[in-house]
């Protein structure tokens, strides 16, 4: 696992906190002005380009060798062993401390726009427990970040906390994405409860050319869903919210974390989705991430994925036969029956993903999403073992 924030060495802190790392191509393209970029002097082409380039009004320079920076200009050195910063990335500098955080990584499969730490649910398995803080400053910071992201970034995930707690400001963030990054798919992870207010949902109609809402639904009745999210009334709010989003012509994905009580009714949930929410375009069935609140509820939540396979297969078959796309996340291939492999995605973000020693002998390791880096034995299926050969070559 790589930390995404590090102490750095620097001189003359640049004035603007959000900066894009530039190489020659970034300069040539002219998409971003030098004032908002750090010229990457670690790049040999850049160093060979001659001194005139350095005279441009760069916000500063990224270098391992401070002497390479023009005298009197700001520079930053990222120490060995800290996270890797590359050309195209966007970093944020703490205003006083010598801290730098990565806000956008070019080429990563999981760049996020983090909206707030607050949440109105309190899910049993929350991987990132919410905090009741005023972090409304994030909105303008996000709007700035959006402008420095590559125009051909394939996708961004808007997340939290609960993004809809931003209210109208969430619309602002989405609108800025639509204006500045019209070709970037936006995936907003929300519990959907706030869309019980149809007017809020309506604000997003026609706002963005490619936006999907990822909304969790944990049961086919309120007793189950409300228990999982630890909030009475949440089920009815989310379901109403889903209808409000549909009325606002939004694309919707339903997300289901495969904790034990949910798995026990997963086929009923699939049926509920098809019968009542057939406009859903994608259903993501996700293995539990053993971090955050989940660890405290092991006995209530844990179910070996190998044991859920038969019922999971029923639910997947049911939905896919009905033209609702299904994906399985966070489940290594060895715990799934082979017919489900086609639905398994390499979903774990690159920076928190790993394989186990057993994986080294596995013939399908390349196709497998592996494990969370914070996986423990307790949270690992008994069935993990290297696959030695596959019965068919479907792919």
């Amino acid at each position: 696992m790589q930390p995404l924030e590090a102490k750095v060495q620097c001189e003359q802190w640049p004035a603007s906190p959000l900066l894009k790392v530039a190489g020659l191509a970034e300069f040539a393209a002219g998409t971003f002005p030098p004032e908002h970029m750090l010229l990457d002097l670690r790049d040999t082409q850049v160093r060979a380009a001659g001194p005139a380039l350095c005279h441009l009004p760069w916000a500063g320079f990224l270098t391992d060798v401070p002497e390479h920076a023009p005298p009197g200009r700001p520079w930053i050195a990222v120490p060995q062993g800290a996270f890797k910063v590359g050309i195209g990335d966007v970093v944020e500098l703490g205003p006083h401390a010598s801290k730098m955080a990565l806000r956008y990584r070019r080429g990563s499969n999981n760049n996020i726009l983090f909206t707030t730490e607050r949440c109105n649910s309190y899910c049993l398995m929350c991987s990132q427990p919410p905090r009741e803080v005023d972090d409304s400053w994030r909105v303008s910071q996000l709007c700035n970040l959006i402008e420095l992201i590559d125009k051909d970034a394939p996708s961004l995930t808007v997340t939290g906390g609960e993004p809809t707690l931003l209210g109208k400001d969430l619309r602002r963030v989405v609108l800025r994405c639509a204006e500045v990054l019209p070709r970037t798919h936006l995936h907003v992870l929300s519990n959907g409860r706030a869309f019980e207010d149809s007017a809020l949902a309506q604000m997003f109609e026609g706002l963005h050319p490619s936006l999907t809402w990822g909304i969790p639904l944990y049961g086919d009745h309120y007793g189950l869903h409300d228990y999982i999210v630890q909030s009475a009334g949440a089920f009815s709010q989310t379901v109403r919210g889903l209808y409000a989003l549909e009325a606002a012509k939004q694309q919707i994905e339903v997300r289901v974390v495969l904790v034990k009580p949910v798995v026990e009714r997963i086929t009923e949930l699939a049926r509920f989705i098809y019968r009542n929410l057939p406009f859903v375009e994608h259903v993501a069935l996700m293995g539990t991430e053993p971090i955050g609140f989940a660890r405290a509820h092991y006995d209530d939540l844990w179910m070996d994925p190998a044991h859920m396979a038969p019922i999971l297969r029923k639910a997947v078959d049911y939905l896919s036969k009905r033209s609702i796309r299904v994906s399985l996340y966070n489940l290594p291939l060895c715990v799934l029956p082979e017919p489900l492999w086609a639905y398994a995605r390499k979903s774990i973000s690159d920076w928190k993903q790993r394989y186990l020693p057993a994986c080294e002998q596995c013939v399908v390791k390349e196709r497998c999403g592996g494990f969370f880096s914070w996986m423990t034995d307790k949270w690992t299926s008994q069935s993990v073992e290297p696959i030695r050969g596959t019965s068919c070559a479907k792919h």
Binding site: D220, G223, Y227, F235, Y274, H297, R322
Partner: protein, 496 residues
């Protein structure tokens, strides 16, 4: 930790029943089918059901959740939502808001056939007095666009519409011309024997995207017996027509209907095999209706619904067998009933709706300028009973909707409000057919215990539910595959 246990989320009030209906399973009297007001359903033991109705379910038991998620019961209103139930119901009744989508134009009553059971009051080929006039055609087109439906299916019928193809062409062009400003989605269908089809007619149909519906009653001997021509070549002419149409319009452009006579009932396999032989992937097995010449010759051609249901079971067995062999062949009415059982979506079929599709889903513009709510109403009028005439093409559609005929239909047109139907577990999946009941029983409301319509529907639903429940995985897959096919083809069944 401030986490609460599961029982903290049960809610604060006892559960309540939502509107529901049930039926003891004919093949297992210890179990019942329960349906919600929108047609979602559950099969369970009668004991459990009785516990549910009498308030003895425990919120922790799976049965509670099963009934709650199918909207058969509801728990704490503070925590529940009925939006899914209301959406299901509205979806099933979706066609109400738009008004009729199926518009049948009878361009001529003339026909070369002399079918004994003819459902249309055909006229001899030379009788041009039974053709639609240009003035009638123009008025009919004006009325067509008075309806609000965004999708309009225009079906040309006869008699044999090819005998007045110039009128078909003229109507098509008038409608398309008008649609340049109206911007509706148009679909053209022609119901024809396909005899004497010319290349010119074919290319016109191709250019205007026609779908064709023809009649094929089974193997050659049966078809020719059912559809006599002096030359005894009805089968050959129809099959030739089908092949020519496929060459010009594509394989999917032609569909065929089977009218079942007494003779047909003995040979379900032969009829189905004929369709397979001819490369069809869809068959429509249609029992005779009590109209037109069919009623007059009833003694010779008639059979009971019980006879039909026996035939149907044998036919279904054979169809499932063929599908098991890997050849996709569906029965269209079965597909439609299964889609009601297995999907939340509405169907486009006008004959199985509540409120009835007559006048609300379909309108017939007859050759002589009279307007009817359905083909059946037109047949009745041809036999001298004008109870269901809506009016004439020169009149406004408002006049039609407030005509005594339409009032008669609406008064008996809502199945949920009809005696016996009101309590029937299948009623959310069924329809009201006041004109059929009027024709058979002399009363548009009708008497369910002796209703052929009711016997047929109950028989089919029971059969399909049992097959679904007890069938092999392969057969369930086949039935499900039919139901899930997304196509909603409207009205084409009721032709030829």
């Amino acid at each position: 930790m401030k986490f609460a246990a599961r029982k903290a989320f049960v809610g604060n009030t006892a559960y309540r029943l939502l509107p529901l209906r049930f039926r003891r399973l004919p093949w297992d009297s210890d179990r019942v089918l329960i349906t919600s007001m929108s047609g979602d359903w559950l099969i369970t033991s009668r004991n459990d059901f009785e516990r549910a109705v009498t308030g003895h379910l425990d919120p922790g038991e799976p049965m509670f959740a099963d009934m709650e998620s199918r909207f058969l019961i509801t728990a704490d209103p503070e925590r529940s939502t009925l939006a899914p139930l209301l959406s299901q119901y509205r979806t099933r009744k979706d066609y109400l808001a738009e008004g009729p989508r199926l518009h049948i134009f009878v361009v001529s009553l003339r026909c070369h056939h002399t079918c004994a059971y003819c459902q249309v009051s055909r006229q001899a080929v030379g009788q041009t007095a039974f053709d639609m006039t240009e003035s009638t055609a123009r008025h009919a087109v004006d009325r067509l666009f008075d309806w609000p439906a965004k999708m309009l299916t225009i079906e040309f019928q006869g008699g044999e519409p090819l005998l007045r193809f110039d009128r078909v062409q003229q109507l098509t062009e008038l409608i398309e011309q008008r649609n340049r400003t109206e911007k509706r989605t148009l679909r053209f269908v022609i119901a024809s024997t396909l005899h004497n089809l010319t290349d010119e007619q074919l290319s016109f149909m191709r250019d205007h995207g026609f779908e064709l519906s023809t009649s094929l009653d089974g193997p050659e001997w049966l078809h020719n017996l059912n559809r006599p021509r002096p030359e005894r070549d009805s089968y050959r002419r129809t099959v030739d027509g089908i092949e020519r149409c496929r060459r010009v319009l594509g394989d999917d452009a032609v569909s065929a209907l089977t009218t079942l006579t007494r003779r047909s009932l003995d040979v379900p396999k032969e009829i189905i095999d004929e369709y397979r032989k001819l490369g069809f992937h869809s068959i429509s097995l249609r029992p005779l209706s009590p109209y037109g010449f069919a009623r007059k010759t009833g003694a010779r051609h008639g059979y009971t619904i019980g006879d039909f249901l026996k035939f149907y079971e044998a036919a279904l067995d054979h169809l499932l067998q063929i599908n098991r062999e890997g050849y996709f062949l569906e029965e269209t009415y079965t597909r439609m009933l299964l889609s009601l059982l297995l999907t939340p979506f509405p169907h486009g079929y006008v004959d199985l709706r509540s409120p009835t599709g007559a006048g609300l889903g379909a309108v017939v513009y007859d050759y002589d300028g009279r307007v009817y709510p359905s083909d059946e109403a037109r047949m009745l009028a041809a036999m001298g009973d004008h109870s269901f005439v809506l009016g004439r093409v020169e009149e406004s559609i408002e006049t039609w909707m407030s005509s005594p005929g339409m009032q008669r239909i609406l008064g008996a047109g809502v199945a949920e409000a009809l005696p016996t139907c009101a309590d029937c577990a299948y009623v959310p999946l069924c329809g009201a057919d006041p004109i059929d009941h009027y024709a058979r029983q002399g009363d548009s409301i009708g008497h369910r215990p002796t209703s052929d319509f009711c016997h047929k529907q109950m028989g089919l639903f029971d059969t399909l539910l049992q097959r679904w429940e007890q069938g092999s995985p392969a057969d369930r897959d086949t039935l499900e595959g039919w139901a899930l096919r997304a196509t909603c083809r409207e009205g084409v069944l009721e032709t030829a």
